[in-house]
């Protein structure tokens, strides 16, 4: 439905996948609701047939009814979605942190495609629903008495036991995946998890309820009798839907989790690798250095941001008999910076040098602990390697003692860094923007100074990833909404049954508390079971993602899953109170 030219292919593929999955789920959703709708009207159909309606006429009636419903539904859906689009765009701008506006537009093509796809879907499904009626006996013998059978649902023990085996096996496989797994392996993991989840609901769930039922001291205790005897039936009935709902929830959670994870990672990496909010780097010969630094200080003071300015001067020297050059910093300056950045101080003596490598650089001294480097007249012993982030976007460098540093005077270039350390780098956003405008574009080698701002860089990176993050957010939101409506629908197919059950219970005498206790427990089990299954699955997916991107996603995972859980609790509360109200209404006594 979305084929905007600005989208890069990966994002577009993601959207197409989501689109397909949503369409498939809609097919199932509409199919199930159609069947349930027809089932609830069976009595009416039987009457029509008894009074001489032909099966053909009945099917035509069903077809026309569903087409009408489909038409109205699709139109309403499209109208609503148009008003939702703007809302989703607004939320997305804020959640993802986009600078540019996501403009609302009137997607003619998307509307036409959606309309066509869903009308076709309704047409095909209502014809199928009509054909399915032929399998029912009552289409030929409408008044034949058939007993409603509600047998005790059975579950096979081996299949029930296989549920955790499949789940654990899938997780095990996922954990032992090599760096670049083949499609086959991924499919194996997914299929194993899917089978495990299905059996979890269809077999293990029923089995567990049976175990409780077998303990009659427990089963016969007060409302347990009412709750458990129905639950086993319902679990079995719902297994397919609960399975689908947990898959939907899982996709939603994983998508949003990934979004938050990537966002957190980007933010964290950058702020970790750049402990200083603002950095002004100046090559020797820059005339405006003093003026610019004073300006930065003044701007920070104006905004009332306390800061500490640190300074370091790096000398660049050629390595003897080589085309490469070395960057060298004195220990005293390094230690001051290291302390401010929360790194370990070093104390090289004599001709010792400590190498501070940079992740991205493929410099001449990459990982050369224990080697000797000849610089001018001196031979530097690289005695240690340490990870430290102090300068933005800079090559590897060596830390030497101040005395040695003073001796190295045949440098080709000297760069002095002014690092501004503030307590909370997020506060510097305004200052940074102001200064950035003031200094104009830097870098690119044509100017002899660079100005770096953490907030500005982060913002830039966000815009680059914005599209993908938005796609993930969107997919997550859509799938979450879908699973909620699935669940809601599923619960309401049981409403009639429950209304009858509680009407019977009312004649025996059931207090309001007992009624809402039974309904609440029943709803808790049906609403939260698929949710928690999805929670476990998606936590696991996040763990694998964490492994893949080498970044601790604990915080983001917790935040996202916590938000989902909160939303779900509210959903549960709303559904529960509506459901209790509907059941109570049906009991004739005021």
């Amino acid at each position: 439905m979305l084929t905007a030219p600005v989208m890069d292919t990966k994002v577009a593929a993601g959207f197409h996948l989501a689109e397909t999955v949503i369409y498939l789920f809609s097919v199932l959703f509409i199919w199930f609701s159609m069947r349930a709708f027809l089932k609830s009207r069976e009595h009416q159909f039987k009457l029509f047939l008894t009074f001489g309606m032909t099966p053909g006429q009945l099917k035509l009636m069903i077809f026309l009814e569903h087409m009408l419903i489909g038409l109205i539904g699709t139109m309403t859906g499209l109208t609503l979605s148009l008003s939702f689009v703007k809302m989703v765009l607004l939320i997305a701008e804020n959640v993802v942190g986009l600078d540019f506006r996501l403009y609302f537009y009137f997607p003619m093509k998307a509307l036409a495609l959606t309309f066509g796809a869903f009308i076709a879907l309704f047409a095909v499904l209502s014809v199928c629903a009509g054909l399915f009626l032929d399998r029912e006996r009552w289409i030929l013998f409408p008044q034949q008495w058939n007993k409603q059978s509600s047998k005790e649902p059975n579950a096979s023990r081996p299949l029930a036991v296989s549920a955790p085996i499949f789940l654990a096996g899938g997780y095990g496989m996922a954990l032992s995946l090599p760096e670049s797994p083949s499609t086959f392996m991924i499919v194996c993991v997914v299929v194993s998890e899917a089978i495990g989840t299905y059996f979890l609901f269809d077999q293990l769930g029923v089995c567990i309820i049976h175990t409780y039922k077998r303990n009659r001291h427990f089963f016969w205790r007060r409302t347990n009798l009412l709750l458990l005897s129905d639950l086993a039936n319902r679990m079995k009935d719902c297994a397919r839907t609960l399975f689908m709902i947990s898959i939907l929830f899982m996709i939603a959670m994983t998508a949003i989790g990934m979004m938050a994870g990537y966002q957190g990672m980007i933010k964290n990496r950058i702020s970790q690798e750049n402990p200083f909010a603002l950095v002004y780097a100046s090559s020797s010969g820059n005339m405006r250095e003093t003026k610019d630094v004073a300006e930065i200080e003044r701007a920070l003071e104006e905004h009332g941001i306390p800061f500490q300015r640190l300074q370091a001067t790096i000398k660049e020297l050629p390595i003897a008999k080589s085309n490469n050059s070395l960057r060298i910093i004195p220990a005293s300056e390094f230690n001051a910076i290291a302390r401010a950045a929360g790194n370990v101080a070093v104390a090289p003596t004599g001709t010792q040098a400590i190498l501070v490598p940079n992740d991205d650089s493929q410099g001449p001294v990459q990982g050369t602990g224990g080697s000797t480097l000849r610089v001018g007249l001196l031979a530097l012993q690289v005695t240690g390697v340490m990870e430290a982030y102090s300068f933005p976007d800079f090559d590897s460098y060596l830390v030497v003692s101040d005395d040695v540093y003073a001796l190295l005077n045949d440098y080709t270039r000297k760069v002095s860094f002014h690092l501004f350390d503030v307590d909370d780098w997020r506060q510097t956003e305004g200052v940074a923007r102001q200064l950035k405008q003031r200094f104009g574009p830097t870098g690119e080698g044509k100017v002899d100074f660079t100005f770096f701002s953490l907030t500005y860089t982060l913002g830039k990176i966000r815009q680059v990833y914005g599209g993908s993050l938005f796609a993930l957010f969107f997919i997550g939101a859509v799938f979450f909404a879908a699973s909620w409506s699935f669940l809601y629908f599923r619960l309401y197919t049981n409403l009639q049954e429950d209304q009858r059950k509680f009407a019977v219970m009312n004649t025996i005498g059931l207090t309001d508390q007992e009624l809402s206790k039974v309904i609440t427990l029943q709803l808790i089990l049906l609403i939260f079971t698929p949710f928690f299954v999805a929670l476990v699955h998606s936590s696991f997916a996040m763990m694998i993602l964490q492994h893949a991107i080498q970044y601790n996603l604990m915080k983001e995972t917790m935040a996202v899953l916590g938000a989902f859980l909160t939303a779900h609790v509210f959903y549960f509360a709303a559904v529960r109170s509506a459901y209790v109200k509907r059941v109570k209404q049906s009991i004739t006594y005021p």
Partner: protein, 255 residues
């Protein structure tokens, strides 16, 4: 045991419909009372008012001197499951449970110990002749068995009063007879007070006393003498005097 004072019920809506008008009735402890009348005469309404499943528009119901309609909702529910037993035409059994589970429901809700429940269920089931189907599910048993199970559920907690509404309405004559014999036995052995609403003279002939309702008002009452055959004949006579469409549905059977 039960006293009705000028009990009246008017169904609201766009057209007002008087279902019951100034019913005065006293039922003694241990009585087996039949309530008869043509369709639409208000017998079921009367039973629903006694069971407090509906509210009267005038008058009062006193069960052992207490008016259930003045009880708060929850108290009423507890009152109903301690003091009353209700058996309805369509059995009202929960079909996701076994017969035994259905029967012990009132006790379970009261929090009775498991051992006691199982014991009582076995006892009641034996009394009603359904001991062999306790572990079957509701859809596996016949109508007569289902109605006996419903009676078992209604008497397991030893209620002061058993209210039966057209309990043979869905049964064939043989099953009806079986159910009525069981009910009679319950009345004799437990000494329970039983109120039975029916339009079937054969069923009514099991009662000790029958009151007739016509158009929401008490019409007549007759008391059983020594002979049930004779009592049946007198019920028939009263019904034909009453007129109405009761003859359409009357079943001439007696054994």
């Amino acid at each position: 045991m039960l006293q009705l004072n000028r009990l009246g019920k008017v169904y609201g809506g766009s057209i007002l419909c008087t279902a019951l008008k100034d019913i005065d009735l006293t039922v003694d402890r241990g009585e087996f009372l039949g309530i008869m009348g043509p369709s639409g005469s208000g017998k079921t309404t009367l039973l629903r008012l006694i069971a407090a499943l509906d509210v009267p528009t005038s008058g009062e119901v006193l069960i052992d001197g207490r008016n259930p309609h003045l009880l708060p909702r929850n108290e009423l529910a507890r009152f109903r499951r301690r003091e009353l037993g209700l058996v309805l035409q369509d059995f009202n059994l929960l079909d996701t449970m076994t017969v035994e589970e259905n029967i012990v429901m009132p006790l379970a809700l009261e929090g009775v110990q498991y051992g006691e429940m199982a014991e009582k269920a076995a006892m009641v089931a034996d009394q009603l002749g359904i001991g062999n189907i306790l572990h079957k599910r509701v859809h596996e048993i016949s109508g007569g068995q289902a109605q006996r199970a419903a009676i078992a559920r209604a008497i397991i907690h030893g209620p002061g009063m058993l209210l039966c509404d057209e309990i043979t309405g869905n049964l064939d004559s043989k099953s009806s007879q079986g159910v009525m014999e069981v009910l009679e036995a319950v009345h004799q052995t437990d000494g329970a007070t039983i109120l039975l609403v029916t339009h079937d003279p054969m069923v009514a002939s099991y009662c000790r006393r029958v009151v007739f309702i016509k158009d929401g008002q008490l019409y007549n009452e007759i008391i059983c003498g020594e002979n049930r055959q004779h009592f049946f004949q007198r019920i028939m006579d009263t019904l034909s005097l009453m007129g109405g469409n009761i003859h359409d549905r009357m079943a001439f059977r007696l054994s």
